[in-house]
């Protein structure tokens, strides 16, 4: 279903392409040996190369190259065996070199494709135009001094991948689905931590409007869109702005606009206009980068199972629904946890426990799976006790809560608290007899045709047995005694 916006002159369609900057996960910077940790004291992770002291020369980080290749392969993209670093020239206080080393005419990765999952259960392919490596700039801080901007070069020279999509995106939902999937793939590959709060993943939106079927209109580039929510809001705002301009007989000027999250609007960045003359030229300090077939093959051999493959395998091998499989594979760690808990067990039951009980409780406690008190093995142990009828599903929830508090095994809690389910028919019959003796009127009513009272008797028997009576046995015995 096409997503259209109704204007005064008819329907409008949005055409969106996204540029995602993803910081490459690496110990050191793209061209220097200084560290890349987030949140360190200002200007401590800066070498003379990053500070652009005269005479310093860049030396390429081999691991960053491998990470870029790995990402390219994960995006089903063509890896270019020949790529070139170029200088992109502009002046800004947080760019000490006066140019950014980037790739322009010859990026390391060419065309690829990402399959996105839409809320209605369908999928769509979004083309990748290219991926190139470049240096990050430093960071300006504007609110620490009334008259000064402060510059921290810790981020200066960190390795980025700029991943450019084709203009295949047609709605805010598709943009969200694309970023979500891209982030998931990068995290599976281990090439970027995808942390948008810390700026490891940042997004620029290119958007234009057109009447359905018409050629592309003029686009604007929106910068500073740094969360998934901001992407949606910026798209909605900018689409309305452009429709208004176009419907009032105006023309869209191709320009760079800044998303202001506080005001919820985009505005023109005049200063960027002139700066657009970047005068790219090959960096004379760096030779062209050539990759061997052996290197590419070696990286390809180490690619993990990617989200889409995993999702289809979970649906096929474990019989999970698309939704459950989708939630389980959203994080690689979560998928691994599920698989080790489900090994040799009822996979659907395991999926339910992981999705509904474990993740629900962790979320409530503000914890993540990595600090879960209940290990995959222990969750599996609990599920074993449900499967062999040692405890009912209801008691299992109590045991689970206890496991979350204490971090111990299901068996030790069941033993210590005497929670083992009563399946001994004699004991259950005794409880049923006493319940019936205490409620003669109810028994008479039930026998007189009030079938619905059956639930009342089940409840009373379970209560009297401390929840330990086997529910199936209670049902059978109760039925025969009441009907008999």
């Amino acid at each position: 279903m096409a997503y259209l916006i109704r204007g005064e002159t008819g329907d409008w369609e949005m055409v969106i392409g996204l540029e995602v900057h993803a910081q490459i996960t690496a110990n050191s910077k793209l061209f220097s040996g200084s560290a890349t940790d987030f949140g360190s004291e200002a200007n401590t992770q800066v070498s003379f190369v990053d500070a652009a002291m005269p005479g310093m020369l860049p030396v390429l980080n081999q691991y960053c190259v491998e990470q870029a290749v790995r990402t390219g392969l994960g995006l089903n993209a063509a890896v270019n065996k020949y790529s070139v670093f170029e200088r992109k020239n502009y002046f800004y206080p947080d760019l000490p070199q006066g140019y950014q080393i980037s790739q322009f005419l010859h990026p390391i990765v060419g065309k690829g494709v990402v399959e996105i999952d839409l809320p209605d259960g369908t999928t769509k392919e979004i083309g990748i135009t290219r991926l190139h490596m470049e240096q990050d700039a430093g960071k300006s801080v504007h609110d620490m001094h009334p008259k000064k901007s402060f510059v921290d070069l810790n981020r200066s020279g960190s390795a980025l991948m700029e991943i450019v999509s084709e203009p295949d995106i047609r709605s805010p939902e598709e943009a969200t689905a694309y970023i979500t999937k891209l982030r998931m793939i990068l995290r599976y590959l281990g090439t970027c931590d995808g942390n948008m709060d810390e700026g490891s993943m940042r997004c620029d939106v290119n958007l234009s409007m057109r009447k359905p079927g018409a050629p592309f209109g003029t686009r604007c580039e929106i910068k500073n869109v740094n969360s998934i929510k901001a992407v949606q809001m910026a798209i909605d705002y900018e689409a309305q702005r452009q429709i208004e301009v176009l419907e009032n007989g105006g023309v869209i000027k191709q320009e760079t606009r800044l998303w202001d999250p506080a005001k919820g609007e985009t505005r023109s960045m005049r200063s960027k206009e002139e700066a657009h003359d970047y005068r790219y030229f090959p960096d004379p300090d760096l030779l062209p980068l050539t990759l061997t077939d052996e290197l590419i093959a070696r990286i390809k051999a180490t690619l993990p199972e990617l989200p889409d493959e995993k999702k289809h395998r979970f649906m096929g091998d474990y019989g999970l629904s698309l939704y459950d499989a989708g939630v389980l594979i959203a994080e690689r760690e979560r998928a691994d946890f599920f698989e080790s808990a489900a090994k040799g067990r009822d996979a659907k039951l395991c999926a339910n426990w992981v999705l509904n009980e474990l993740l629900g409780r962790l979320n409530k406690d503000g914890k993540t799976l990595s600090d879960s008190p209940v290990s995959a093995e222990n969750l599996g142990g609990l599920i074993d006790r449900i499967a062999d009828n040692t405890i009912s599903g209801r008691i299992a929830k109590d045991v689970f809560a206890e496991m979350m508090d204490s971090g111990t095994t299901a068996d030790s809690i069941i033993d210590a608290k005497g929670l083992k389910q009563v399946t001994d028919t004699g004991a259950i019959e005794a409880v049923i007899d006493s319940v019936m003796a205490e409620n003669p009127q109810m028994v008479a009513d039930y026998r007189g045709g009030k079938d619905k009272l059956f639930g009342f008797f089940v409840g009373q028997v379970m209560k009297k047995s401390g929840g330990k009576a086997n529910p199936a046995a209670v049902n059978d015995l109760l039925k025969s005694k009441l009907d008999g």
Binding site: A26, N27, S28, S32, G33, S34, A35, E41, A42, N43, T44, Q45, V46, S47, F48, V49, D50, A51, V59, L60, N61, Q62, Y63, C64, V65, N89, F91, Y92, P93, S140, V141, H142, M144, H145, K147, K148, S149, F150, V151, D152, L153, L258, M269, S271, E274, D277, R279, P282, L286, L287, P288, L289, T290
Partner: protein, 95 residues
């Protein structure tokens, strides 16, 4: 190829070099002369020649991903005209 006064002014501004307006004409003539001299290279037919990245037969040097540098804030800030609290302090730049 010649370089007019307007282009000289633009290039100077992109490079953040101050050129007074009465100097523009001189630079326009000088730069045009240099470009014209370089244009001699156009006489050589390079149709079947691959671009040359270097004359020595060497490959791009690469390094291992190891932290081996940095952690000298004082030295990095030493030449800064002004620094405060470990940051470079520059005139306020805000969009």
């Amino acid at each position: 190829m010649s370089m007019d006064v307007k282009t000289v002014a633009k290039v100077a501004s992109l490079a953040r070099i101050r050129v007074e307006s009465d100097e523009l004409d001189k630079y326009s003539r000088e730069l045009s002369g240099i470009l014209k001299w370089i244009e001699m290279l156009d006489n050589v037919n390079t149709d079947s020649v691959e671009p040359l990245a270097n004359v020595a037969n060497i490959e791009l040097k690469q390094r291992e991903d190891v932290v081996s540098d940095g952690n000298y804030q004082q030295a990095v800030l030493k030449n800064a005209p002004e620094s405060l609290q470990g940051y470079f302090a520059v005139p306020k730049v805000i969009e």
